[in-house]
């Protein structure tokens, strides 16, 4: 069996810049080789002299009804942006700190938020979902009734179409963590009622091609949704990661449209109004349209493109010396499952295929990883994802060429991290 040692030269290199064969992961060799453990013979009867930490000398704390993260992890927070803090602090963006998380599931308290008018305070007893317009039977449902419906569970990412906006528009790359750079993306397990069950009960008429979904928030956020999408895999989500959806995420219920831009997944959902055409609501008229390079615009660009980011290491981190590391990151696509992720450590000159952590679910975050021997020299890390439709991430240059300079929506270009000789990890455009 092949063993990794401290000597990168004897390792199984698969691409430039120190990228190693992903089979090494399976052999567990990256953990630092199999030294130690043998030979340690303990003297009998003598009490070992190692210091005893004080927590091992007292009884622990009593149980608590709702668990909290460790105190030492209190800094793991969302990064909050309030672009109009002086006049409209209710308009805010909060980014998930992906560089401080592992795995694929985002804890509920760290799920990203975009608030157009603050977080409403909704009385679940009085909240209702109305289904009306071009339907056979206009209906309303309260929470008690909805609890009796069959529920399904699915894991899906949500991504704001404005995610990674700084990389999209800033002339020079911003030096910030993955919370600010790519945090308007999260991934959780959703449980709720398939939309087609509720729509079939109301009986959408054939001419009801769109449903305008409206939230119970102050500004009554509204989006027109094609009926096909709602019938195919739309969900009235009531639970997130097993517990009731939190107020930030739409308590007591939200719309979930797997793979579609975050804004359409209307929070605090209170109304679905069937119409013969899209209403051209505020968000689909301006804010969530994209201006192209030729000055024309695209509207109803619903699905999120294929994308990936290396989270470990990533900008703001510092390498802790040369040697073996595991490169780790996340990949996702609004069009289906991730097929493969390639990683480069030499700025795209050579690529190696990363290991995908299963199960690889459609329209959900997939974690990828690859062993890497960092030799202490400058290197340029990149990841490039491909989804099941064959779509591949564009370069930043190719993405920029498509749009007007002002556009910051649907940015899915390849992210590059520069590792400097002294181990600093920087955001760069490459």
């Amino acid at each position: 069996m092949k063993r990794a040692t401290d000597h990168p030269s004897v390792l199984d290199h698969v691409a430039g810049g120190g990228l190693l064969n992903r089979r090494l992961l399976l052999q567990g060799a990256v953990a630092g080789g199999g030294a130690a453990l043998a030979g340690a013979t303990m003297p009998r009867a003598a009490r070992a002299q190692g210091a005893i930490p004080e927590w091992a000398t007292v009884a622990g704390e009593r149980a608590r009804g709702y668990g909290m993260p460790a105190e030492a992890e209190a800094h793991v927070q969302r990064a909050i942006l309030e672009p109009f803090a002086d006049v409209a602090p209710q308009f805010s963006l909060s980014g998930t700190p992906h560089h401080r998380l592992r795995g694929t599931i985002t804890p509920n308290g760290l799920h990203f938020e975009v608030h157009h008018g603050g977080r409403p305070n909704i009385d679940p007893e009085r909240h209702r979902l109305m289904i009306h317009g071009l339907v056979e039977r206009p209906l309303q449902f309260d929470l008690g009734a909805l609890e009796r419906y069959p529920m399904v569970t699915a894991t899906h990412f949500l991504e704001c179409s404005g995610n990674s906006l700084f990389n999209a528009i800033m002339p020079d790359p911003m030096q910030a963590g993955c919370d600010l750079l790519h945090g308007l993306l999260s991934n959780t397990e959703w449980t709720g009622i398939p939309m087609n069950v509720l729509l079939d009960e109301a009986g959408v008429k054939p001419e009801g091609r769109w449903l305008v979904a409206t939230g119970g928030d102050g500004p009554s956020l509204a989006r027109s949704i094609p009926v096909e999408k709602l019938m195919e895999d739309g969900m009235l989500a009531l639970y997130q990661n097993g517990e009731r959806i939190r107020p930030e995420q739409g308590y007591p219920m939200r719309l979930l449209l797997p793979g579609f831009e975050g804004n359409m997944n209307v929070k605090w959902l209170t109304s679905l109004w069937a119409t013969d055409a899209p209403a051209h609501t505020k968000h689909e008229s301006g804010e969530y349209t994209e201006i192209l390079a030729d000055g024309s615009s695209v509207k109803f660009t619903f699905a999120m493109g294929v994308k990936s980011v290396i989270t470990h290491p990533s900008a703001t981190m510092t390498m802790s010396g040369s040697g073996l590391y595991e490169l780790s990151g996340i990949a996702w696509s609004g069009a289906g499952p991730i097929r493969k992720v390639e990683v480069s450590a030499d700025g795209g000159a050579s690529w190696a295929e990363a290991e995908l952590q299963g199960p690889v679910l459609p329209r959900a975050l997939t974690r990828f990883r690859l062993p890497w021997a960092w030799e202490g020299a400058p290197s340029l890390l990149m990841s490039r994802a491909e989804d099941a439709t064959g779509a591949v991430q564009p370069t930043r240059e190719a993405w920029k060429a498509r749009y007007d300079a002002s556009n910051f929506l649907h940015y899915n270009a390849i992210q590059a991290w520069q590792i400097t000789a002294n181990g600093e990890v920087q955001n760069v455009y490459a």
Binding site: P150, G203, S296
Partner: protein, 173 residues
């Protein structure tokens, strides 16, 4: 009715959703009077527009009092997404970029001002839409905006949009 017909009628009732096959069928009837205005949206062709109307002159005074702190004294200064353009902050000023003027009326009525949404009357929302459209040079200073005139406003950017859903559905652009 014969037993057979009764059975057929019952089956039809079940299938038509009175008790949907997949769900327990617990939706309660919803009458028109129970639906708040914001659960519908004014359509681009004007369906859903109420009585009333207003002009830029009336709108200008309301704007100065209720909107200028966030959107700027003349609508181009911001800081929040200035609705009048061209401006240096926002490439999509609502009063000239949006494809339909009806959206202005509906959005202002349901959502603005941010700190007191739904506090404006229909007349005030018409007047504010008129003010924003006139400031963008899209309508005349003296034009009245109402259920008749608002859907007829020719927004300058209307034909400049490609509908990606119609073109390629759920495949990302």
């Amino acid at each position: 009715m014969s037993t057979r017909n009764l059975l057929a009628a019952a089956l039809l009732a079940v299938m038509s959703g009175a008790a949907s096959a997949e769900g327990p069928g617990l939706g309660q009837p919803l009458s028109d009077e129970e639906i708040p205005f914001y659960a519908r949206y004014v359509m681009p062709d004007g369906r859903g527009l109420p009585e009333g109307g207003g002009t830029a002159a009336t709108g200008s005074a309301i704007y100065a009092e209720k909107c200028a702190t966030c959107h700027g004294a003349t609508g181009i200064e911001g800081p929040v997404m200035p609705p009048v353009g061209p401006n240096d902050i926002w490439a999509k000023p609502a009063g000239r970029y949006w494809p339909y003027a009806t959206t202005l009326f509906d959005y202002i009525r349901r959502a603005m001002p941010l700190d007191a949404p739904k506090s404006l009357s229909d007349d005030e929302a018409y007047a504010l839409a008129a003010f924003i459209l006139a400031a963008n040079g899209v309508i005349g200073e003296g034009d009245t905006m109402d259920a008749e005139s608002l859907p007829k406003v020719e927004m300058p950017n209307r034909d400049n949009f490609l509908d990606v859903w119609a073109k390629q559905g759920a495949t990302p652009w």
